[in-house]
């Protein structure tokens, strides 16, 4: 099929509408946010146009340094754990017959699409004293008394890993399901055990895909804004939580915008990095 270049004005019509919508409702809001990050906050009110760097300067305090460090560290930890679990899982999933894969995929999609509110609520229930998992342990006699496991760092980490796991699986799924099965079969005929062929053939072959997935999940985890609130204490709040907090409760839009811009820069840089890794994989 020949794809012709658009020539007449009417040829451009199909793309004009989506382009207009995306520019109006994505580029413009984004640009506005960028502008607001340089505006001056009016105490008690909203903000007024200006060009100040004060909002960015606030990053330099120890408090935000800590929050930033914690956010990045937490997101990285979540990404590494989620991918470490998701990689062998996805490998096994992709080796199943198609008909067996489908229920798993439906289940993973259902979990992935769950609202953070519901994940947070579910885990806080599971980790609670009254309805939590410790009740089961009491029931089978492993514990004397049910205890509350939430809020706390462990609860935040668990909830976020839970949220990130199906995402990691679905990011890994295309490359793993396209992996040539004869690769491992060849390794097997050369005398490698299944586990050995997995670590010596599958993992190295998809090194870049794994790294790219870690980055994607890292960015995904950076965006988590409710789980740290629902499952953690204020010291476990991340940059995303602070942005929401500043924007809604402190009514400090300029500062929230500055933090958001910063988050965008970090995320974009990482996404570009992961795309480059993906392309490198494609070429080899």
């Amino acid at each position: 099929m020949i794809r012709t270049a658009p020539r007449r004005l009417v040829d451009y019509a199909p793309i004009a509408w989506p382009a207009l919508m995306l520019v109006l409702f994505f580029v413009l809001p984004f640009g506005l946010m960028l502008a607001v990050s340089f505006f001056r906050r009016v105490p008690g009110g909203f903000y007024q146009p200006d060009f100040v760097l004060a909002n960015y300067a606030r990053f330099l305090t120890a408090f935000f340094g800590n929050v930033l460090g914690f956010s990045l560290g937490l997101a990285l930890l979540v990404a590494v754990i989620a991918v470490a679990l998701a990689f062998p899982f996805t490998y096994l999933l992709s080796r199943m017959r198609r008909r067996q894969q489908v229920p798993w995929l439906v289940f993973l999609l259902a979990v992935l699409s769950l609202s953070e509110v519901i994940i947070g609520f579910s885990w806080s229930t599971l980790l609670s004293r009254t309805a939590g998992v410790t009740n089961l342990l009491v029931l089978i006699g492993l514990m004397d008394q049910p205890v509350s496991l939430s809020p706390g760092f462990g609860a935040v980490l668990t909830g976020m890993t839970y949220q990130a796991f199906p995402y990691a699986v679905l990011v890994l799924y295309p490359s793993l399901s396209r992996l040539d099965p004869t690769l491992t079969e060849a390794a097997r005929t050369l005398g490698a055990s299944p586990l050995r062929s997995f670590f010596t053939v599958v993992v190295p072959a998809l090194r870049n895909a794994i790294l790219a997935t870690v980055i994607m999940v890292f960015v995904f985890a950076l965006g988590s804004y409710l789980l740290p609130q629902l499952l953690g204490r204020p010291q476990q709040w991340t940059l995303s939580v602070l942005i929401t907090d500043q924007a809604i409760y402190q009514s400090n839009m300029p500062f929230a915008a500055a933090m958001a811009v910063f988050l965008v820069l970090v995320s974009l840089a990482l996404v570009v990095l992961s795309t480059l890794l993906g392309q490198k994989e494609g070429r080899t």
Binding site: R3, A5, P14, I15, L105, S122, A131
Partner: protein
């Protein structure tokens, strides 16, 4: 033998971990008393009735459904011509527009949410109920864009040429060949956007959080006043809706292929 057992154990453990919080919530939702206890004490579906009986939950449910339906439709309507253009026309610059369509979903959602907050505020519509439909429609445009892009790539180009040699002009080809073939991908794109919009919190909260109560917003607001089994019932309802919708997508389409596996017939 041992290896096979270990694999089963690992898969079962992952299934258990994924299902555990949902199972607990399901258990809580059928509790007879209005307290959060597990294992459940007694059995009652009253809390599910509550979603429809209590005006606050019912309104939130209908608001969420309405927003999800409208914004998913908008997402498809924006994505369809874009995906068609990228497939049918030779225009490298159009990739830029495609990139814009992918961006909202890749960036942390709080950023898009804040952008919308600034935008609707500046435009003077902050809090108007319809703004969340547009916001969600743009936020989730990535999903139908991805499924439709896949769908168009799956159409054999010679079908289009065959239609042309038989006398069909471009609009006729679109109507009689392209749209019927792309319909499953349109539906799955709609389904993805619908389910995600239903579950979305932060964008809805930052645009209409103080005027419209969607289900996720209502759950979050209620959390401050303590847990109730109704919240558990709503959570279960959400899981069921997601599972049913994705189950239907899998029933009428090729889910593995939609998620990026090679088609088994492709050779």
């Amino acid at each position: 033998m041992i290896a096979r057992f270990a694999i089963r154990l690992f898969l079962a453990a992952m299934a258990l971990l994924l299902a555990a919080p949902l199972a607990v919530v399901a258990g809580v939702s059928i509790n007879e008393k209005k307290s959060l206890t597990f294992p459940p004490q007694g059995f009652s579906l009253a809390w599910y009735g509550e979603i429809f009986a209590e005006a606050g939950w019912r309104n939130a449910l209908f608001a969420s459904l309405g927003i999800a339906l409208a914004s998913a439709a908008l997402a498809v309507i924006v994505a369809l011509p874009l995906a068609w253009f990228l497939w049918r026309r030779h225009a490298p610059w159009a990739r830029l527009v495609q990139l814009l369509g992918f961006a909202p979903f890749v960036l942390p959602p709080v950023i898009t949410a804040l952008g919308f907050l600034s935008f609707w505020n500046a435009a003077g519509f902050y809090g108007a109920a319809w703004t969340v439909v547009i916001s969600h429609g743009i936020f989730f445009v990535t999903l139908p864009l991805v499924t439709l892009t896949l769908g168009f790539e799956a159409i054999d180009g010679s079908l289009v040429e065959a239609a042309a040699t038989m006398g069909a002009d471009e609009p006729t080809i679109l109507r009689t060949v392209v749209l019927p073939l792309i319909l499953p991908y349109m539906i799955s794109g709609f389904a993805f956007a619908f389910v995600l919009s239903l579950n979305e919190y932060i964008v809805a909260y930052m645009t209409v959080g103080f005027t419209v109560e969607t289900l996720p917003i209502r759950i979050f607001n209620s959390l401050r006043y303590g847990y109730t089994p109704t919240m558990a019932a709503v959570a279960v309802l959400f899981v069921v809706i997601a599972a049913v919708v994705f189950g239907l997508v899998a029933r009428f389409g090729d889910l593995p292929k939609l998620l990026g596996a090679w088609s088994p017939r492709e050779d």
